[in-house]
């Protein structure tokens, strides 16, 4: 009995995931032919609430690409892979406190802020570096123009509020 119900529950969950994935996919399917440009896959996956790193994203793309990459990803290949990702709750987003701690690590002297240069250095030289466009975009929201620095606690709070 319980098994039946839980199976039914999973089936409904899967059906709902399918619809959600389809919705997200369709918004980027400009030609309405069930394909999206591979360069938009990252955006689609992230819009579904997952936060893969760039490396993880590349692996995912490899899974959904054609054997001979065409530059387009077909929905038929994307759907099962993405459904698994959602069911397994993979690539969970970063909680706010971890994010704060990350900034604090980069600010060992505990100033409460990072200078513009410091932020640029870390974001474009460490980890999975930002492109110039990504860097500029982040700065436009994060920089306090008067002090030319990023008060990261305020920045995080602002971003989190906006999300909700």
């Amino acid at each position: 009995m319980a098994d039946d119900r839980s199976r039914e529950g999973t089936e409904t969950a899967v059906a709902e995931f399918h619809k959600k994935i389809k919705e997200a996919f369709e918004v980027f399917d400009h030609e309405s032919n069930n394909t999206v440009d591979v360069r938009e896959i990252g955006t689609i996956i992230r819009s579904l609430g997952c936060c893969p790193s760039e490396g993880e994203l590349h692996d995912l793309i490899a899974e959904v690409e054609e054997e001979e990459p065409t530059g387009y990803i077909r929905f038929e290949k994307f759907l099962p892979v993405m459904t698994e990702v959602l069911l397994e709750r993979r690539y969970r987003p970063i909680p706010e406190d971890i994010l704060l701690r990350a900034f604090e690590v980069l600010d060992p002297a505990k100033h409460g802020f990072l200078s513009k240069e410091e932020l640029i250095k870390y974001m474009t030289e460490e980890g999975e570096p930002f492109s110039q466009e990504e860097m500029e975009e982040m700065l436009s929201a994060a920089i306090d123009p008067e002090s030319n620095s990023v008060h990261y606690k305020d920045y995080i709070t602002m971003m989190v509020i906006d999300e909700n």
């Binding site: 059906a15 709902e16 619809k19 959600k20 919705e23 997200a24 369709e26 918004v27 980027f28 399917d29 400009h30 030609e31 309405s32 032919n33 394909t35 990252g42 955006t43 689609i44 996956i45 992230r46 819009s47 997952c50 936060c51 790193s53 760039e54 987003p93 970063i94 971890i98 994010l99 701690r101 990350a102 900034f103 690590v105 980069l106 870390y122 974001m123 460490e126 980890g127 999975e128 570096p129 930002f130 990504e134 975009e137 982040m138 436009s140 929201a141 971003m159 906006d162 999300e163």
Partner: protein
């Protein structure tokens, strides 16, 4: 101590910094993607609603046919109405008479054009419009008369050639966005013999400077008739202008002579060429093509007979027509409706369909050719259709406009179809870029993008996205409120336990069915309804912070909703009945109109309710209704909103 320890400490430090950087980058990219997606969703909302409106527009066209066939009494008595519905002919002698009557006072400090026009007049206009001056009606009319005269000499398709040293620039929809035209002229240079342009339709409607754009384009055309090419768009149509704002703009800016200007404009539109062909390789038309597109036919038809998308050829009863063709220039159609034109005043249905396809179609990835259901006219054409038609006429590429694209342009059908759209921030500040294309023979086209920014637009991405999104959601909610009764009924049908809750799937299903909009409902749900902790939707929650202002108490909500929902259609119908543009129609006209409307659209309204409403609207108590006031009285109130009046209607 020792090197080993210090380097491992350093390693550990840089490893932690690496990890921290990764966390931040990961979070940022996730956030950025969500913003971009929300922006896309907002655009999808705007676009769906826009196309649904256009579909409504074309449904209106069928209604007019229906009206012509059934509204015999009014039509027989009021031949002026018929003339208006079937179009009228302006004789040239009108021009001298009319212009002679207009005086440009010495006190007028706006631009004064000198005929024959030269490039200095283009500069003059641009400078004047930058200072928000208004061109005097006298000059407007002169420009319109001259433009019509010149256009009449042009063929249906302009054929032009480029060379490696002489590129041609193609611009898409401008929709009254004067700043974008200024930007294009500034970035790309003014038109001239060595700098030719094609403007691919939809110069007017929606934006607030359609008149100024038209004047600059027409004057540019008059100065460089062989280098400035204008294609007709689906908005170069006097009926569309009634709904989408240009008519209103003209009547506001030109209180004295507006009606005359509109009358002449009706005619000028019909003489705009259907398309441009560059180097015998590139076809430039506003909308697209269909599987039956016949360029040879289109080269031959009398294009000026296509008055409006809302005036399809009236079905003529063949036998009776020949019988009754006794009076000069008069024909009887079935059921005894007299028309002021003859059979030859109309295009054939086939010819008319060909033009509609050119002005209204959209390319899609799916192969084949299908009726364009979201717009209600023209078709969706697939890559196979493109190949077939291009091959048939030995062309290489189709450049078209008609659809707003986030980047201002889009390439599809394997590089054979390019969409170019030149109105940046079309739906809302931050919604999209504009673009133009430069082509010359033998080289691939070059794309130029831009986005008009105001001071506020130099905001960070998340603020811009918030603005676009709230505008879109607002529009969507107004749509919902106009179908409130139907929505609630659909929800309740699924809510067997009467709990007030539905699953996301059930809610999405009803929303899509009732509203007829294909949107990502699951992703939008958080912005439209409240969800409980089990993930179920409280479907009544959308209606809590928004309602339609009741102009009069004791009137049924259904009536309010219906008038609100169809207010744009009603606006057009009233405008058509009000042939002298006085803003007033008689109570009797109102009632008859309403009866026809409700029967055609299958709307169930109690007659007595409507009578009561009409009585109260007759403020002067003189038996006439100011319909603009009538329609304005139905507006949506957003409870938690600074703006109380809904101004997101399409005009």
């Amino acid at each position: 101590m020792g090197c080993g320890t210090s380097s491992s400490v350093k390693d550990k430090k840089s490893e932690t910094a690496l990890k921290a950087a990764l966390v931040i980058q990961n979070w940022y990219r996730g956030r950025s993607a969500q913003l971009k997606t929300r922006q896309r969703y907002a655009l999808t909302i705007f676009q769906s609603i826009e196309y649904a409106d256009e579909q409504g527009q074309l449904q209106l066209s069928n209604f007019f046919s229906f009206m012509l066939e059934n509204y015999t009494r009014v039509l027989e008595e009021d031949s002026e109405l018929v003339t208006h519905l079937l179009g009228s002919n302006i004789q040239d002698k009108d021009r001298r008479d009319y212009l002679g009557l207009i005086d440009v006072p010495d006190s007028y400090c706006g631009p004064r054009l000198q005929f024959p026009l030269t490039f200095t007049d283009i500069d003059l206009l641009i400078e004047a419009f930058k200072q928000q001056q208004i061109l005097h009606a006298y000059y407007v009319l002169e420009v319109l008369f001259e433009t019509k005269k010149l256009l009449q000499r042009m063929p249906n398709f302009t054929h032009t050639k480029t060379s490696p040293s002489k590129e041609i620039t193609i611009c898409g929809d401008l929709h009254g966005k004067l700043d974008d035209l200024f930007l294009i002229y500034s970035k790309n240079g003014l038109p001239s013999v060595s700098n030719p342009y094609v403007f691919n339709g939809d110069f007017v409607d929606r934006g607030k400077n359609s008149m100024e754009i038209l004047m600059i384009l027409f004057v540019s055309f008059l100065v460089y008739p062989n280098d400035l090419h204008l294609n007709r768009g689906n908005h170069e149509d006097f009926m569309m202008n009634k709904r989408y704002g240009f008519t209103k703009e003209v009547l506001n800016k030109y209180k004295l002579h507006g009606k005359k200007i509109l009358q002449i404009l009706e005619d000028v539109y019909t003489w705009l060429p259907i398309g441009t062909i560059i180097d015998n390789e590139i076809l430039v038309v506003h909308g697209g093509i269909s599987e039956s597109t016949d360029l040879n036919l289109l080269h031959r038809i009398e294009r000026n007979k296509f008055k409006s998308v809302l005036m399809p050829p009236v079905p003529i009863d063949g036998d009776r027509a020949t019988e009754k063709e006794n009076k000069v220039g008069t024909t009887s159609t079935a059921r005894g409706i007299r028309t002021n034109g003859s059979l030859s005043e109309q295009l054939t249905k086939h010819e008319w369909d060909q033009v509609i396809d050119i002005l209204w179609s959209d390319p899609r990835g799916k192969r084949g050719c299908y009726p364009n259901t979201s717009r209600g006219g023209g078709c969706y054409f697939g890559p196979d259709i493109t190949s077939r038609i291009l091959n048939k006429y030995r062309l290489k590429m189709l450049i078209r406009s008609h659809e707003c694209k986030p980047e201002g342009y889009e390439i599809c059908h394997d590089g054979k179809v390019i969409t170019v759209f030149s109105a940046s921030n079309y739906y809302e500040e931050g919604s999209n870029r504009g673009a133009y294309i430069r082509v010359s023979s033998g080289t691939p086209p070059r794309f130029f993008q831009y986005q008009m920014t105001s001071a506020t637009c130099l905001r960070p991405l998340y603020q811009r996205v918030n603005a676009v999104e709230s505008s879109a959601i607002r529009m969507l909610k107004e749509r919902m409120i106009s179908r409130k009764t139907d929505l609630i009924r659909a929800f309740q049908l699924q809510d067997c336990s009467k709990s007030g809750k539905l699953s996301v799937g059930q809610w999405a299903f009803s929303m899509e069915n009732v509203l007829g909009l294909s949107l990502p409902w699951r992703s939008l749900s958080s912005r439209l309804v409240t969800t409980d902790k089990d993930g179920n939707i409280d479907y009544m929650s959308s209606f809590q912070d928004i309602h339609i202002q009741k102009p009069v108490k004791e009137v049924q909500p259904t009536l309010i909703e219906t008038v609100y929902r169809y207010r744009s259609d009603l606006q057009i119908i009233f405008n058509v009945i009000d042939s002298d543009h006085s803003g007033l129609i008689s109570m009797e006209e109102f009632r008859s109109m309403w009866k026809l409307f409700t029967s055609y659209y299958s709307v169930c309204i109690d007659d007595s309710q409507l009578d009561e409403l009409a009585e109260r609207m007759d403020l002067n108590k003189d038996g006439s209704i100011d319909f603009n006031e009538f329609l304005k009285a139905f507006y949506v109130v957003h409870k938690f909103d600074k703006l109380n009046k809904s101004d997101t209607t399409v005009a």
